[in-house]
Subunit: 668 residues, 2 copies
């Protein structure tokens, strides 16, 4: 086929089916600046075709280009395959970074029973690491089963049905928003710990700036992400491991570092109860987040993708385990304590161990860096999940459109907006947000694993018994953890999440219902052949005055039918007759009906009259042509009444009435 | 002519010109429930034609009927002619009621120089009464010259040009809003003076309730207004005159009443300067408001209208002069003083003179009553002026539409909204509002009188020299007063009015510019005969999918021309070719052009392509038919993109392109 159309071949983009087009098409062959001729019936718009034309638009476009870079064509999407080392950096920032706050979150709760309760920090941390391992092993199964990326939504929807998928999706979306809030708050806390004083009062402002910056970077579309991510991640890992090594070594040789000058934060006192321990455990579980990232990102790995992804997940788990345990142990050794001045526990340990030298500052900056990267991970995940949901019809379709830089702009902006709103609502402190955090994460992890169990039971591939057993164990473990969270943290904010997730699911089902209804309303059977129209048409044009917009509508109607009638609704018969006189003189041959409306309403009597006419001539199609003056700017339109729209809305859905709006604007 | 059409004659409504209609009109002769046949080409909608159809609408209509009464036809407008006695009550409530606060306002300012300055109250009051008389005499001329109603806007516009008219109108509109705020605040203050304590904290709430109540009454449309107005007005007049008579008699017989238990309000102290006296004078001038009402309302008087109106105006002036002077004198006699607990001076005088018996309460309630009536006067004047401005194109046309009860609903609601907003902004106290008040009144009075001078100089009717001299004297006097106000009160809020009036004028000129532009854009020369269309039409239909709305648009296009082309814009050529295959199969004979848009924009490339086509076939008319799916509810429409509207906006104004939107909705 290609040999018939050498032009297309020259373009070097051979696409199947392009030349199956109807041969008779009178396609313009534009030698224009705007289009490239591709073959009969097909042209491609050049970049010039989307260039701005109006002055304001030109300016805003130039500004956009400056901030975000030039517009990208769909085929310009770069696909970077990640080595294990880079992948670890890209996918693990969320998970690794939580080391920076998880220990402190747990200690903050324990502080309620006095500093003596800190003896429980290490045991609790060990339990958390155990849970982490269960999850890591469980997710290794997911990677094997979903080499194309197995997010919780997909896994749960595939195996447990739409509703479970949506619950997982709602939990994840909530979680992504909270990840941004918590990570950015913690990152700014690290900076404020290093430079206390004036910055303290700017906490929320700094968080907002950080989120907006990450948003802008993501709207621009992140390139070479692997390298950019690797540096702060590895600095953080090396510095933290170094901190642990130095601290523990010094403790072993009897020169244990000690924190000085810290006033413990004032918290309401309570007795050391099971509930308190459960809450401290839940807080510490904030260390377990971001497992989703790897299982989502399998296709980005170098070959063999699944194997590399599994290895990366394991490495990541091991690193988190070592770092989290190390920090928990060290916190006890150095006597760190959640501080009244909000200095972080990490900062206290580092200050005690390294002194306030360059190493201390390096660690603080690296902490901020990796936490901002963690937020950045959500800026990739949230819009991606939102776009999948939008494609499935569960979110507004705007979330599925890729912007000028190929990023899902709507999702990115929505995420930034929500994260900032939450930070402001909670006053910019991490402690208050963490209770809200883990429950979403564990809900989605549980659903994903339960989905995997179902998957193995259905597929029964090699080793299915073992895989199912692993995932089942994981499901039970995380389900228990989720329930523990819900109970322990209910009064402290978990109720909000327990309330919000079903609300989000309901909203998504509602949106889906709307799209589905639209689909049914406009559906055309694929086998139907549509014949040309044959029915006699009666055209009716509402005429408020003899003006250009009205005349345009009447002339328009006359090209459709010989049978054109004008209707004038008025509450003033005398002026109506004046109009009739003028109308008959200027538009001879078109009858004008005057409908007197003594109650001054214009729309309803007109609609009734049109309905009446439609009923009288059941075999005809009544075409109502509505002239509509369109002001240049939207806000100017407030000055002109919306009768055309109201008439349209009232007439829609009638059997043999068809409505057309003929807008008019004239450039003087 | 009538004998040709007996049906119409039977209806008993012979209207001129009705039967000049085109004889060939195929008018439906509806024996329907909705229309009455009136003659060829004319039907009248019955009340049933505007009856609600949807459930929600039925409920809201029933609720509206309950609150506001049944819908009124345009010819049901009752025109009550007012006797002098009733007219005095209807038109004077604004002016008489200001007696309740003018003295106190003046004293409040004098208090700054200590209670000794109260000696100036009576001299200042005498000057104010003199000014009042100048204005009354001046306005008697206006009534003579404008027997059909001569508001400041009309007089100034007729004689001094549009801009002067608009300044007067802006000043009046501001004044009406402030009248409502000030009167209601003072009315509620009278009640709170009688029942101090718990009500004090509800001041703003009570004011809001009162304004909303007056608004509802006015939306319903006031009937039998004369009688309703007469009672509280005359009770107030008689009670106040009685108060003055008793008080002064007791003083003359050496038993002068004395106020007890009043703590003077705390005000910043200052020396007794000219500026202070000027300010006290300005405050007292709030007694001179509402002259406009009579000159506006001349047509409502019994014959001879002008003479009766002039007499009423004189009576009104005399009453105000007596009452205002009397209260000012009595305030000094009884030793009343603006009180820390906001008890009004009127209340103090009445308490001292009558004791807190029934007479006292009668006066307080009558005061509240007449003040609320004064607010009510603005609820008649503001919407009326707004409607005149709207008819002249200086305000949005909505202000000229009469609602279901024949009231100018938009203006009524807008006035209530503004008055409540101002009361809330100023914390519900009168003192703060009065500086803003008088300057608007005197600006419009000055412009009106200046207009009258011009009028006499132009007309040169009988007595023109004398009339012109009177009005010229009035103009100079009120102009001086206005300037005194602006200087004395500048820092105390007059600057706001001086700023707002030009802003309102600019807004009105802007609105007028918009309507004027529209008028020019759509204007058709009255002598032009519009021929039937002859140009060849090429129809182009943008096709995103093969759906019912698209097919409806294509069938629509096919009734206009044999030359119909479909255009599909896509960023995915493969899916485009799939669509083409389906399209060619289901809609044989209609060529489909695919425009590939590698940058994912849909609107701009389509518009460029259509423009290109239009340029290629300059002799044809390109008709672009836009299919448009319409969701049932507005908020549902958020889920569907607005591409049709955007394409329309971009294509409007092109030479040989005509756009038509063909909306689709199907009731499943």
């Amino acid at each position: 086929m290609d040999d018939e159309e050498p032009e297309a071949a020259q373009e070097g983009v051979a696409r199947p089916g392009r030349h199956m087009a109807d041969r008779r098409i009178r396609v313009a062959r534009p030698h224009s600046a705007y289009f490239r001729y591709e073959g009969p019936g097909t042209v491609t718009a050049k970049r010039e075709a989307i260039a701005p034309v109006r002055r304001g638009e030109k300016f805003s476009t130039r500004l956009r280009r400056l901030v975000f870079g030039r517009i990208l064509a769909s085929d310009e999407e770069g696909e970077e395959r990640l080595s294990k080392l880079k992948a670890l950096a890209v996918f693990s920032s969320d998970m690794l970074s939580s080391v920076a706050y998880a220990t402190e979150a747990s200690m903050f709760t324990l502080l309620g029973a006095g500093t003596v309760a800190f003896g429980l920090t290490v045991p609790i941390s060990i339990v958390i690491v155990a849970i982490l391992w269960i999850i890591v092993i469980s997710y290794r199964q997911t990677i094997r089963a979903y080499p194309n990326g197995g997010g919780s939504y997909i896994v749960a929807k595939d195996n447990l049905g739409t509703r479970a998928g949506l619950i997982a999706a709602a939990a994840l979306l909530t979680d992504y928003v909270l990840t941004v809030s918590v990570s950015v708050a913690a990152g700014i806390a690290a900076i404020i710990s290093a430079f206390p004083g004036p910055l303290e009062s700017l906490r929320i402002e700094l968080c907002t700036v950080a989120i907006v910056a990450v948003m802008l970077v993501n709207l621009r579309g992140l390139r070479e992400s692997g390298t950019v991510f690797a540096i702060p991640t590895y600095v953080f890992v090396v510095a933290t491991l170094g901190l642990i090594a130095v601290g523990i070594s010094r403790a072993l040789i009897g020169d244990a570092p000690h924190v000085t000058g810290v006033v413990p934060a004032g918290v309401p006192l309570e007795s050391l109860s099971i509930l308190l321990v459960m809450r401290a455990f839940a807080d510490g579980c904030s260390a377990i987040t971001g497992v989703e990232a790897v299982s989502n990102g399998v296709p980005a790995f170098k070959r063999p993708e699944a194997a590399n992804a599994r290895l990366t997940l394991t490495m990541m788990g091991a690193l988190v385990a070592i770092m989290f345990l190390g920090i928990s142990v060290l916190a006890g050794v150095v006597g760190a304590v959640p501080a009244a001045n909000h200095e972080t526990v990490m900062s206290q340990i580092a200050r005690a161990t390294f002194g306030t030298g360059p190493l201390y500052y390096l660690l603080q900056f690296a902490t901020t860096g990796i936490l901002i990267l963690a937020a950045n991970t959500s800026f990739a995940d949230f819009p991606r999940l939102a776009s999948i949901l939008a494609r499935d019809g569960f979110m507004p379709s705007g979330f599925a459109f890729r912007g000028e830089r190929l990023a899902f702009s709507t999702g990115i902006v929505a995420l930034a907006f929500l994260a900032i709103a939450i930070l402001i609502a909670f006053g910019g402190t991490v402690d208050a947000l963490i209770p809200l955090y883990a429950i979403g994460v564990f809900t989605s992890i549980t659903l994903s694993q339960a989905g995997m169990v179902r998957h193995w039971l259905r597929e029964r591939g090699p080793d299915w018994r073992r895989s199912a057993a692993i995932n089942a164990f994981g499901t039970v473990a995380t389900a228990i953890v989720t329930i523990v969270f819900a109970i322990a943290k209910f009064a402290l904010g978990a109720w909000l999440i327990i309330l919000i997730i079903p609300l989000i699911v309901m909203a998504m089902l509602f949106v889906h219902g709307q799209y589905e209804r639209r689909r049914l309303e406009v559906r055309v059977r694929p086998e139907a052949i549509i014949p040309p129209p044959t029915r006699h048409q009666r055209v009716i044009v509402p005429v408020p005055e003899v003006t250009r917009d009205v005349i345009q509508a009447i002339r328009f109607g006359r090209t459709m039918s010989e049978d054109v009638t004008a209707v004038h609704v008025t509450d003033d018969l005398e002026r109506g007759e004046e109009l009739r006189e003028r109308f008959n003189r200027q538009l001879p041959g078109i009858p004008l009906v005057i409908v007197e409306s003594p109650y001054r309403k214009l729309v309803r009597p007109l609609v009734r009259y049109l309905e009446f006419t439609a009923r009288q001539s059941k075999d005809d199609l009544i075409v109502v042509i509505l002239p509509e003056y369109v002001a240049r700017h939207r806000w100017e339109r407030l000055l002109f009444n919306e009768n055309a729209r109201r008439i349209r809305d009232e007439l829609l859905g009638h059997k043999n009435i068809l409505v057309a709006q003929v807008p008019f604007r004239r450039d003087l």
